[in-house]
């Protein structure tokens, strides 16, 4: 059962969340991280999920990324109910369907860009020349074709994030899931990374960005705002004003947004 766009569920949304809740037990206190989130993301969308820290956006990202399971509610990925999948199958789905991009890049130390990008292929059982070629293709796609033999400490922050994006793309996933992808970059390289996301989205990849930065969120076609574990707004990005954004993502983000001067 390989989930792919050409499958019988090709008309199903990429992501379909129905009344998803997540409750953490912290000692004797129950924390309601998500209180009934319903969300449909269609193939080819570019969605930003915004919210202040504690709004539940990280939890939502972990659930979408199959790193965590909902306490209740249903999650269908490409039409398949992932609650039915075992631990090993979930690992396979993460490997093939989801490309992760992290704030701090999460590159392996002292490992060349080429080897970083081969890693998901290794877990998919793709090896040898095929793996090398596919990793190189992915690096070309993010315009790092001449830096394949560089190690993280020989690359700038923007280049490191592009290696991470190549790594996320190499399995040709249905979703690119990015968590504060520009959080560790200066505004110039941040803009470059966002331009790359736009380009990839135009090429047909579904992009989901979790952020509290309006500059980042405004690149998306659609902004989903969370507060206290629930969706408070879900609208095309051009209809959201910066005041609305500030109230959704909290004051800290608002200040940051003004500093950047977007």
């Amino acid at each position: 059962m390989r989930m792919h766009s050409s499958g019988p569920e090709s008309n199903a949304p990429v992501i379909e969340l129905q009344n998803v809740t997540k409750i953490y037990q912290m000692g004797r206190v129950q924390v309601h991280a998500l209180r009934g989130v319903s969300l449909i993301i269609e193939r080819g969308e570019y969605v930003a999920i915004i919210g202040a820290s504690g709004s539940g956006k990280s939890t939502l990202m972990n659930i979408i990324g199959l790193l965590d399971r909902p306490t209740s509610g249903a999650y269908r990925l490409n039409g398949v109910d992932v609650a039915q999948l075992g631990k090993g199958r979930l690992a396979d789905v993460r490997n093939r369907e989801i490309g992760f991009v992290f704030q701090r890049f999460h590159l392996l130390p002292r490992t060349t860009a080429q080897r970083q990008v081969e890693l998901p292929l290794f877990y998919a059982g793709v090896r040898g020349k095929v793996a090398k070629r596919r990793a190189l293709d992915a690096l070309m796609q993010v315009r790092l074709g001449e830096r394949v033999d560089h190690r993280p400490d020989e690359l700038s922050g923007g280049q490191q994030q592009r290696v991470a994006i190549a790594r996320a793309l190499v399995m040709r996933p249905s979703i690119l899931l990015a968590d504060e992808p520009t959080g560790a970059l200066d505004s110039q390289t941040g803009r470059e990374v966002l331009a790359l996301f736009r380009e990839l989205n135009e090429a047909g990849i579904t992009v989901i960005v979790v952020t509290h930065d309006q500059g980042v969120a405004s690149q998306a076609q659609r902004i989903v705002a969370l507060r206290d574990g629930a969706i408070i707004s879900d609208a095309p990005s051009r209809t959201i004003s910066s005041t609305q954004f500030a109230s959704a993502s909290g004051d800290a983000a608002h200040h940051r947004f003004q500093e950047v001067g977007v």
Partner: protein, 408 residues
Amino acid sequence: MRWVRYLGVAFDSIAAHKLRSALTMLGIIIGVAAVLLTIGIGSGAAASITERIESSGANLITISAGGSRGLGSTSTLTLADAEALADRSLFPEIVAVAPQYSSNATVIYGNREGSYTIVGATDNYVQVRNLQVENGDFLNAEQVEKNESVVVLGATVASDLFGADNPIGQNVRIGGHLFRVIGVLKASGGAGFGSSDSQLFVPIGAAQKRLFNAGRSNGSDVVTQISVQGVNREALQGLQLQIERILRLRHRLDANSENDFMIQNQADLLELAGDVSATLTALLGGIGAVSLVVGGIGIMNIMLVSVTERTGEIGLRRALGAHDRDILLQFLMEALVLCGLGGLIGVGLSFAAAVGLQFFPTATFRIVIEPWSVGLALSVSTASGFLFGLYPALRAMQLDPIEALRYE
């Protein structure tokens, strides 16, 4: 095989942490080297003891006069006994029989003198006792037959009395009698009591009659020792029983009497030496094995630190699609590679030490590295890598990917 592809991951990780990996391996390197060298020293000692025993003559049974009650009792071992044993039709497994009569006497040459053991011997003594002649000749059959006044000197005796001079043809005075030197033996290297280096060899009849006035028993001249050479080592045990039986018959000992002679065979002596060195080797090897286990615990310690330090990496690998077994095998393989590499380096160092020792001529011992001990050390080090790598690997496997990703 599936796990082979984790070798590459393990080598990458070891290469990425060179200093730490080297320090971790050090425990295993020292452990393996300790096992190999202690066993090697034990084996070397065993080999040199065996060599020394065998250098006194191959496949030897020695019969000494006097019972187990002590040397003081009157000797009943005679030349006739030796002649009886030399009967090839009765004892086809005996190659040679060499009787001897030994006692101490003062030897004088010029103004030098010393007290040495004089061995009255037959011409075949040189072959039975595996002696090498440096200069001149050993006693021949005619000289023994005619009890001629000729003498062969041990190497130490020659240098004591003659210094750098050539002793051949010179006369020495033994207990007042003049003997002409006809040969000098090569140094045997054997030290201490009973070494041929500090002995003089004269025809047996000359020792018995002219020098020491040996007694008679049963109508034959007494001897102090008979050396019997068997065809091979396997024959010695049987021969010893046969000799014991025939001598008891010849000495008319009834069933209740103890032997009036002592009989000893080389195989028993070698076996005893072997037992001693095996015990020693086991003891030393055990100490080495303990240090291997300590090395293994060091591996576990470092692997646990490594798992904690690489929590972020583990989370990332999970996000990229790693299964439980991928994480488990990665860390297990890393521990195994560390132990395996450490083991190989330890083996290499041990061989280097064994070879290096040969360049020190003053070294009084040798290191013989046995193939089985290499196998043992490597399998114990690999097993400890598996054993002590398993727990950290399980810890890595059980990390929650979300917690692991948050960790930075």
